[in-house]
Symmetry: C2
Subunit: 192 residues, 2 copies
DNA sequence: GCATTTAGTATCGAGTCGATACCAGTCGAT
DNA sequence: ATCGACTGGTATCGACTCGATACTAAATGC
């Protein structure tokens, strides 16, 4: 007698497999593996504090050695370039090149996925919310960072229309900044 | 400007990665890879027509050569045994051994996942339905089989309380049969 | 009977991934 | 100011996945 959780687990696993298969196919023309596309996509949507190998490692949930290899390949293909940090000389920033951005817009998100989404009954908002909750629970259980958008962070401060500030670094933030993923993101606790 | 579909895509991808990581950890003590656990789980929940290498290949979305290797390893570890079909001597049936079942009950579903699920606001039923719809769309777009439970098939016939029949093979089905996954499963079209 | 299709296996190479070890830079404590 | 602990990143190695290709054997269709 399968419990309810088992079905949901199987469902998520199957969806994950399908997405991986699609990513594999999407990356094939460029000689890229699923994990390469994921790395590029992260670098496209993270803020300037979170575009380092260490942050990417946490995001992907892999070891730093593995990620280092991935980055080597992406650099060889000319899809990103490395830039040393001026403050901390151990840190390296990863910047997408034009070629890298071109690959992304061409390969992701898969066309099939977008089409399937339009046929979904009802708005995707509720689905998105439920999945976000599940992801947050799993991340908390694994002591993982949440990597949410800056504007949804506990430390995000509104100072006026279009004027924001990060409570951690005290830096001012633009509206574009507020939509980028941040490594230091902290979920706002449920009790508002 | 990220569209709504992009966020959902990223969400599913991240959840998939997390589940893979957990499966990796769960299989490690047994020397098993994520795909091995997935194979065992499928064989546990499929019906007697669908426990063949070919069916598993379609379910996992891999090539038959790859799956053949996976099965070789599982057989060496004594987690499943192969049984030749009596009708068609090309086909082989895959049966879990006691050891195989033991691994499954021990390793899956991950404890962390179950706990995270209990904290989900509202029932998981709606979430399950939405994800099933999405999965069906993607499967249809990829010309993939649905692998649904027998009792949800277009060809499933009810003949009385607890008495069912398969419209394809014309065989009688028990209540337990009706809950198993079938390779020949066909989704009931939306218009009821 | 002969060609075609289907189920499954064998082998090879590219590439992921974790483990381990290592180097360089930062930070803190005395 | 030097020592030690820690952090960011790289290098190397082995186990394993996965697709591609080629192959055998059995069923099927004409």
């Amino acid at each position: 007698m399968p419990m309810a959780g088992d079905r949901l687990y199987a469902l998520l696993e199957r969806l994950g497999n399908l997405l991986r298969t699609e990513e594999r196919a999407a990356g094939l023309p460029h000689g890229l593996q699923p994990v390469h596309l994921q790395a590029l996509r992260y670098l496209q949507s993270c803020n300037r504090y979170s575009n380092t190998p260490a942050a990417l490692t946490e995001y992907l949930g892999l070891t730093k050695g593995t990620v280092s290899q991935t980055l080597l390949l992406l650099e060889e293909k000319g899809l990103l370039r490395k830039q040393a940090d001026t403050e901390d000389r151990r840190v390296i920033h990863l910047l997408l090149t034009e070629a890298g951005r071109a690959v992304l817009t061409q390969a992701l998100p898969p066309e099939l996925f977008k089409r399937a989404l339009t046929e979904l009954p009802g708005e995707g908002a509720a689905l998105e919310e439920a999945l976000t909750g599940l992801l947050r629970s799993l991340q908390a259980a694994n002591a993982q960072r949440s990597f949410g958008a800056c504007g949804t962070c506990k430390l995000f401060q509104r100072e006026g229309p279009g004027r924001f500030r990060c409570g951690l670094t005290q830096e001012p933030l633009s509206r574009e900044d507020s939509q980028l993923l941040c490594r230091e993101h902290e979920v706002i606790p449920p009790g508002h």
